[in-house]
Amino acid sequence: MGELLKAYFVPNGSYLMQEDEDNIPDPSVDALRRIGKEIREELKAEVMIVASPHWGTKSGFYVDPGQHHTSFTDYPLLPAKWGRRPFSYEAEGDPDLALAIVKSAEAMGLNAGIKTYGLDHGAFCPVKVMRVNCKIVPVTITQRPFQECLIWGRAIREAVEGSSRRAVLVAPGNLTHRLDLRHDDESEVYFDEAKQFDELVIDLVTAGKFDELESIDPALLKTAAPEAGLRPLVLIKGATGGRPGKLLCYHGMKYSVGDATFEFATGAQPSGG
């Protein structure tokens, strides 16, 4: 029987790859490297299911069943003001698990299917910084209602448990995500409402109060504009059963985004492979 060993909510900004490559100190980069070491050496995961916050389909839930995945560059490139160098990534896929996820989701009543998509930066940026070497199954986060995203998480877990895989789930995203407020001086860019929003979400997630994410003040939610509308955390709740998250890192100022990193237990007992 397969196991979903752990789930992670991690940042995915393209600047993390640049800082990693240039060895620029950043606590979020350090957290990603520690997670990668855990996945490689302790959990010994064979496959990582990655739900990019940038794969926002409206019609339903999709999985890329490819045997091999290549990345594409979906962030601003130089010479744009906050452009980055072009980075790339390749990984083996897991077609059998991908198709099992679709089957599981369909059985739970979701509109699910396959698309040949590849890896956008929301998926490959954190994975690249983690330096993991497992197979990857890209899945959508979608723009669907929370209740469906919750079921999507359950479907992913059920598919993993019905397989023989040792898997982890990575659902990247940022808390506050106001790229329009980026400023040349990074120390000045973070604003009070963003801090208030990030702290509220951190409190709710670390207390396991996922249901209260839906009742956050709409005005505060609009101001913070969290990436993928907090769906990554709803997906994680579905996959893990809603256990409280452990905050590994919070870095709330760079480029008007709340870089928070959480890990989530799933109830599976890591056996070390």
Binding site: G56, T57, K58, T73, D74, P76, L77, H121, A225, E227
Partner: protein
């Protein structure tokens, strides 16, 4: 030359404008005319309402579906309207992702995504 000059500013021939909530691809026809393809709105079935301009003239308004785009060595081929757009591979790949549900980090940031 206006379109391409704008593309050079962004480092890409395909950008997402989060203020206007639309994406724009700049390229050229096989005869060298400038092409601007705007994906104006993502529909509930993940198709896009699209506007094609060649030179400064509106050529067509249509619904773009992911399966109606062929990816070539040096560009893309739209099936209907039938137009080949010469564009670099990095921008074509970004465009391809967009037609399959990708929401890029915006080149022109707005107060929300998408």
């Amino acid at each position: 030359m206006i379109f391409m000059a704008i593309a050079e500013q962004f480092g890409s021939a395909f950008i997402y404008d989060a203020v206007q909530k639309k994406a724009v691809l700049w390229g050229k026809t096989e005869t060298g005319a400038e092409v601007q393809l705007e994906l104006i709105h993502r529909n509930d079935d993940d198709s896009h309402d699209a506007l094609l301009m060649i030179g400064k003239n509106e050529k067509a308004r249509f619904v773009l579906r992911e399966e109606e785009v062929e990816y070539l060595h040096a560009g893309i081929q739209l099936k209907q309207p039938s137009v080949k757009i010469v564009v670099d591979n990095v921008s074509a790949a970004k465009f391809r992702g967009f037609t399959k549900g990708n929401i890029p980090t915006p080149d022109i940031p707005g107060d929300s995504l998408p």
